[in-house]
Amino acid sequence: MNQLILICNKWQDYFPITDRFQPLSSWLLCFDFFGCVDWMGHQYDVIVVGGGHAGTEAAAAAARVGAETLLITQKIHTIGALSCNPSLGGVGKGQLVKEVDALDGLCGRAGDWAGIHFSILNRRKGPAVWGPRAQLDRQRYRDFIQSELLSTPRLTVLEGSVEELLVTEPNPEEPGHHRVTGIRLGTQSVVLTTGTFLSGSLFVGQTTSPGGRIGDAPSSPGLSHTLRERLGLRTGRLRTGTPPRIVKDSVDLSLAKLHLPDSHPTPFSFLNTHTHCKPEEQLPCYLTFTTPGVERVVRESLQLNCHIQQDTKGPRYCPSIESRVLRFPGRSHQVWLEPEGVTSDLLYPQGLSMTMPPDIQLRLIREIPPMRRAEIHTPGYGVQYDFVCPTQLSPALQVKSTQGLFLAGQINGTTGYEEAAAQGLWAGANAARWALSMPTVTLSRTESYIGVLIDDLVSRGVTEPYRMFTSRAEFRTSLRPDNADLRLTPKGFEEVGCVSSVRYQESLRVRNSLQDALTALQALFLSTSSWKKKLPSVPISETKSTLLTGLDLLQYNDVTFEMLASAFPESLSSYMEFAQRLKIEAVYKPHCDLNKKEIERIQREENMSLPQDIDYFSLPVSLSDEVREILDRVRPSTLGAATRLEGITPAAVVNLLNYVRVTEKKKETHRNQRHQEAQRDEELCANSASLPQ
């Protein structure tokens, strides 16, 4: 019933299926599409526009959920391209990669395949904030993503550019509400992942040219026109930039500080036990610093740098070298020199994103000692692009006013591969569910960083490119990289349908083993003196309570699971593969228990959904105009989201209770609960005399 039209134009040359890709049941097609009505009689459930990190995850997730999916991208050979830095993960971002992997997404496994330098950041700061990160080989990453997509059943890839998005006339009963329709390409849902391509323009020095990435045209103006004029979506403009790429041979790396990877690389994916790259084959990074000369060059060239003079919002945490020296003058700033790949002869100077004219870029980098004689391969440049204010989306990343239209990635005002991949996966899975007439699903901010990301976007919006930090997650100690599989894989299989049964079975095995191991640890119930005999090296104070469990012991700083397992081999040795996870679980358990209450309170409120068609201005309850205005602007989808809005009073929340719809499932459990409580009450009264003392 709900269909969507995409008019695709300017298809490139017909591109035959090549031997290299060997698609199983999927298609690799490239052909002139214009005027092709109902192409080959094929009906697609979901069409994904864009082949970046969001688009590839979206297409793969939609296909996994069971939708016939079409991915349309400008150039097939740039699918999975790393447009900026050659790295994946990091603090906060690594958590997102682990979660995408737990939901059977691509980027974790792609990182394990393409990584050439693995390290866990924050190793000394506690497992909740560990940041798994890898330098990547650009070519390998692209190859992996492309071959994964092309071997995904139900997924077709098309090369071309989307001219326009056609939608129905708004329903007269609900002004401003459209639904997407389709004639040429029958489809139910569309996922737009336009990245920096939506009305994109590139900046180098004083030159501006339309484009989404160097060498690539922006997306069609018709697309932005439809979004803005036809659908009436509020859009804004953001900017970002990328550094020049340096010829490796022209850099004197002996003048920079060598930075080695972890000697035992840790894979991102829960399915992998080791990385593709052998530990000893990993490549190092190098650290160097800016000099006063860099600041001088920036100041002298300011008038030649129109990107930096614009007032469009750029990211505060990934600023260009221009904004860094202008905001914090007189300092020396870090510059990381990172490998671009095993065979690449380029270096990526992280921290030197710049938009001045190319000759001045060369002058600037030559102010840094190891690059005194450096050559630039490709100059750095800035990009400005349109984004859609994400408060117009539902938590399923669907445009509230247009049924079947989903947005993911930079189009929602975020920055970063990991943020894009996370949204792509979630939007793709929901687009598929929508197309297949299944209810859309949401992730709570209490259970995942993806939930935090989406909730922040749809309920607060963005004022600058949004990046994930661990400090954004209130329940950081519960949402750890090590337990992403326990948190998300079962849900991904049982409720979303985006997880394969192989992964699901594995996650169940892991969960059961961990639970058994923890039960076994609790069953070790010994007196302090017996523990002292068993573990003579551990300083157990005598004044502690007389009985301690194995779990208590594992919370001690200097006790490892290995030590306990060698003391009690019969009950514990079979769990050795989980030694590290068990240690982390034990240390965090008391804190997670404390978090749990608050998490449950939030989840209860998130189960109370607010109808999207309330007219907040005419509600016959006592709400101030200010509160009505906020509610009308943001249109929170749940009571929980409303509670977190700035300016919403407890009274307003209580008044909203009136309009709450508690989801069916919850009502069911609620009824059971009340039933049990009623029973308990009766029994309590009947047995109050026999309560033990």
Partner: protein, 510 residues
């Protein structure tokens, strides 16, 4: 159907668990496991308490407790060591402080086991004597019971709704009540925040926010950035100092500034309308200087009154007008601040300024009100009625009675005492209504709430010290909890605010 034994055992364990630390730990369950199907949602909630009756002159005060630890509160404060009392039956008991076992009061206790209670949870009611000292003592004793904390505004109602105890129509009415409740708390908080205590809390809050921002910067950025280890050492010092200061403050019996009890009534209006004369009339002594010169009162003049048994704190303020005089401008600022904090504002208008056509008076007053000040709860006092001709006075009186969009209007003369008696009746009934409002501006409750939040804040800072060297994520969690606890007194602190401090203090560039 659940086996009987396990149900009773479950309750018993929960109760004991909160009193002493139980070693009979329940079977381990992974937090993240999603197959966790136990309907623990309600059973695991915090237990909350609040004064449910009004303050002021009342014989009996009702303190309500709701949540799983209610039975614990009953056991350790009403001496039910053997068994709980029969449900829904009032018993006369000595109510004791669980820490000192000192008897605080003798009163009625009622036990409402779930689900047959107002909130659907286990609940207890203490009916105690209405004096502020007794109420404070009982609230503070409840705050010391493990697992109990003061209720947030509207919390009882929300719990009742979630337990399916309230119909939707009932919620609507309660929404209004809670609106009043939060308004009263907001005004109470504003009063304190503008005082010395407020400055102290705000200072702590600012310092804590900075500590948190620096720890978070160290966690989220230090690997890639130039954030020196020295940052954490400075945080260590700050956290240690803050913890010591807060603990000292909690031990100090006087706790800085005394909270002012009573209904805050503020007299406001244009210059020379007779505000100070009204104050002097009400307190029956020349507390404020009166003169025919506009702008005589420049500062706030306060007097405590007993109005028919209800405590009232009456303040006279500077006349509102634009002035180039620096001192007068400050007076006007203070006047507006006072109005913002007031429970009830008496807007005094010079009757001689009313339009001579009586039918235009209502519109004039409406406009006057909105142009002078935005006040939700106020009375309009038309002073200098003696200057009006008798006929106009009568017509005005008729015209302004029960006009929509206007508060109650009283026509008086401070010169001749005309209309003063009627005005006092209106004022008395307004104050009475205010005092009957549960939770309204009760300083004892605010005190108990502050104390609980400060205690939690100090305990959380101890967690930072404990984990500082072994797990910075857990240490940061301590500072976060501390910031949120203090934020409940000073106002919410969001993640964005912390990030703003990070970006202001550090050059972050990936």
């Amino acid at each position: 159907m659940l086996p009987l034994r396990s149900v009773c055992g479950g309750i018993w364990r929960a109760a004991v668990h909160t009193v002493r630390t139980s070693r009979g730990a329940p079977p381990y369950r992974l937090l993240s496991s999603t197959c966790d199907g136990a309907p623990a949602a309600l059973a695991d909630a915090d237990t909350i308490f609040a004064l449910s009756s009004g303050h002021g002159r009342c014989g009996v005060a009702v303190v309500r407790v709701s949540g799983p630890a209610s039975a614990t509160a009953l056991r350790c404060m009403a001496g039910f060591t053997q068994r709980l009392p029969p449900p829904r039956t009032a018993l006369l008991r000595s109510i004791t402080d669980p820490r000192s076992t000192e008897v605080l009061d003798r009163g009625l206790v009622l036990w409402f086991p779930a689900p047959r209670s107002f909130s659907g949870e286990d609940s207890v009611e203490f009916h105690i004597h209405g004096g502020p000292a007794v109420i404070t003592a009982v609230l503070q004793a409840l705050g010391s019971v493990p697992g109990l904390r003061p209720a947030e505004a509207g919390e009882f109602t929300r719990r009742a709704f979630q337990a399916g105890k309230l119909g939707l129509t009932e919620v609507e009415g309660l929404g209004d009540l809670i609106h009043a409740e939060t308004e009263a708390q907001r005004r109470q908080a504003l009063r304190q925040m503008s005082g010395e205590l407020g400055r102290l809390y705000q200072d702590w809050s600012d310092r804590l926010k900075r500590c948190l921002a620096h720890v978070e910067a160290f966690i989220d950025f230090s690997e890639d950035e130039l954030i020196e280890d020295g940052v954490l050492n400075r945080v260590d010092v700050s956290v240690r100092d803050l913890q010591a200061e807060i603990e000292r403050h909690l031990k100090d019996e006087r706790r800085g500034e005394r909270l002012r009890g009573g209904v805050q009534v503020v007299i406001a209006g244009a210059t020379n309308a007779g505000k100070s004369s009204l104050l002097n009339k009400l307190c029956q002594r020349p507390a404020a200087i009166v003169s025919p010169i506009a702008g005589t009162t420049r500062d706030v003049v306060e007097t405590a009154l007993d109005l028919g048994g209800f405590p009232v704190l009456l303040s006279d303020t500077a006349g509102l007008r634009d002035s180039s005089d620096l001192v007068e401008r400050e007076g006007v600022r203070r006047a507006l601040e006072r109005v913002e904090q007031a429970d009830l504002t008496l807007v005094v208008v010079d009757s001689a300024h009313l339009p001579s056509e009586v039918d235009r008076a209502a519109a004039f007053l409406r406009e006057h009100l909105s142009s002078v000040i935005r006040i939700s709860r106020c009375l309009l006092v038309l002073n200098k009625a003696d200057l009006l001709p008798e006929k106009q006075r009568q017509k005005l009186d008729m015209e302004l009675r029960g006009v929509s969009g206007l508060p109650a209007v009283c026509l008086i003369s401070c010169q001749t005492n005309e209309g003063l008696k009627d005005f006092l009746t209106v004022l008395h009934s307004s104050v009475k209504t205010l005092c009957g409002d549960p939770l309204f501006g009760a300083p004892t409750l605010t005190q108990a709430r502050h104390r609980a939040h400060l205690q939690r804040c100090a305990a959380a800072l101890a967690q930072y010290q404990r984990y500082r060297d072994t797990d910075l994520a857990l240490a940061a969690e301590g500072v976060r909890v501390a910031v949120t606890s203090l934020g409940r007194i000073t106002g919410r602190v969001g993640a964005e605010e912390i990030l703003d401090i990070i970006f202001k203090d550090f050059c972050i560039g990936k």
